[in-house]
């Protein structure tokens, strides 16, 4: 996908700083944030929550055939991260040998380039993850 500027701009809070939400009624964390808690619905009370950025690899794959705009990164590790607060998100694991990734490894968020339209186009930034010590 080729994201437009407004789409990226209106979500910089989530993308740059991993700010999602937490339901004060049931304690569930959501990333990205939600306006409605699916568990509590009308009884839910959602407030902003800044995630620590720490978590563990829940599942991963090595993407070798990339969508348009991501060819530059191939092969890259795509993972579902189980954040320490409980929410799961999809992100890339960087600065690591794809052959040495394992489910359960500790990771932490880093701020990286996500996507580039073309040399003169828009550059998208956001969160990726690296293995934690």
């Amino acid at each position: 996908m080729k994201p437009g500027l407004p789409l990226l701009w209106r979500r910089t809070k989530e993308r740059y700083n991993l700010i999602g939400s937490k339901c004060e009624s049931c304690g569930t964390h959501y990333m990205p944030g939600r306006a409605v808690c699916p568990k509590c619905r009308r009884k839910g009370k959602l407030v902003e929550h800044k995630f620590s950025g720490k978590g563990r690899i829940y599942s991963y794959t090595v993407v070798r055939v990339a969508p348009e705009g991501y060819e530059y990164f191939v092969p890259y590790v795509l993972a579902i991260i189980n954040l320490d607060e409980g929410a799961k998100i999809t992100g890339q694991i960087v600065d690591a040998d794809p052959d040495k990734i394992e489910v359960g490894q500790k990771v932490e968020m880093v701020f990286r380039k996500i996507h580039e339209d073309n040399p003169e186009g828009l550059i998208t930034y956001g969160f990726k993850f690296k293995l934690a010590d």
């Binding site: 996908m1 994201p3 789409l7 979500r11 990205p32 829940y58 599942s59 991963y60 794959t61 090595v62 993407v63 070798r64 055939v65 990339a66 969508p67 348009e68 991501y70 990164f73 890259y76 795509l78 993972a79 579902i80 799961k88 998100i89 999809t90 992100g91 890339q92 794809p98 489910v103 996500i114 996507h115 998208t124 956001g126």
Partner: protein
Amino acid sequence: MKKVAVVGVGMSKFGELWDYNLRDLVVQAGVEAIRDANLEGSEIQALYGGTMASGRLIGQEHISALIADAMGLNPIPATRVEGACASGSLAFRNAYFAIASGAYDTVVVGGVEKMTDASTAEAVTALGGAGDQEWELLQGATFPGLYALMARRHMLEYGTTEEMLAAASVKNHANAVHNKYAQFRREITIDDVLNSKKVADPLKVLDCSPITDGAAAVILMDLDKAKQHTDNYVEIVASAQASDTLALHDRESLTEIRATKIAASEAYKQAGIGPEKIGVAEVHDCFTIAEVMAVEDLGFFKKGEGGKATLDGETKIGGKIAVNTSGGLKACGHPVGATGVKQIVEVAWQLRGQAEGRQIDGVEYGLTHNVGGSGATAVVHILKRR
């Protein structure tokens, strides 16, 4: 609710069909279905069309009106239904409701996708629309990647192996040899799959369904009217659908499609039978891991045993339950909007004893299972022999 029957089915060839445009394909399928139903055309009162991404793939929206026009069915109401790769089943289900409600007695469903006019990269990007663009695709996810994430967990939690996954593809290719409409009519081996190019580990090219052009059509009729009209009908005894989170990461489990389990449970309840009564099933094998999870989630095998059952041949023709006799999405092809309708066509042929070299003997109940995206939509239908 009124009872509903399928009285006519048809499909175009599935494949890379550079000689035909979307109109040609849907007319080929539609004409065959109307002829098969022994109708003239003027009896049809409404049309439901299933297409996922025609706007992205060929720049054409408003597909339902296009189909009605091309088929010479104006001025009947024509409605497009979209649910990613489950669009065809959703169109079928809406047509079913249109008759069950008593609004109409004869309705046509057309599913179509013209995919190969676009480049592979454009098609892959268009299909990505079935996932969560902002929180999966923008992060670099691809559809093979999302199913690979499920495969990894299934392997970890249940000991499923790459050979077990490959066995689904090998079996579907073997079935497609007997289907003259199929895209790939040639056998492959487990080694062929294991040695094919890696796409998103652990999935290889031969674990993935292809990009396909094709169309399928069925005619539905009020059951009482169908009984007067023909001896060649099959009854729809269940129609069920469920949804789940759009993004895969928001699900508690990655080793099941929860929407499939919920839709299947509802479908078995409607039909008044259990999974052991199903003799043939067309399931959504967009990737091999999807078929392994489907045969578990539909209740044919226990959770975690789908891979072994597939490798042991229990889902072959002549096995415990024949799965994807058409060749499935993998070998018959996957023109996304057409797939759900094609599944109905294949099961109807099986129940009518017209499945040629891949016919299952004495099959009474058949099931179709169609998934949208990584499982945010699942649709299950059960059909019964006359």
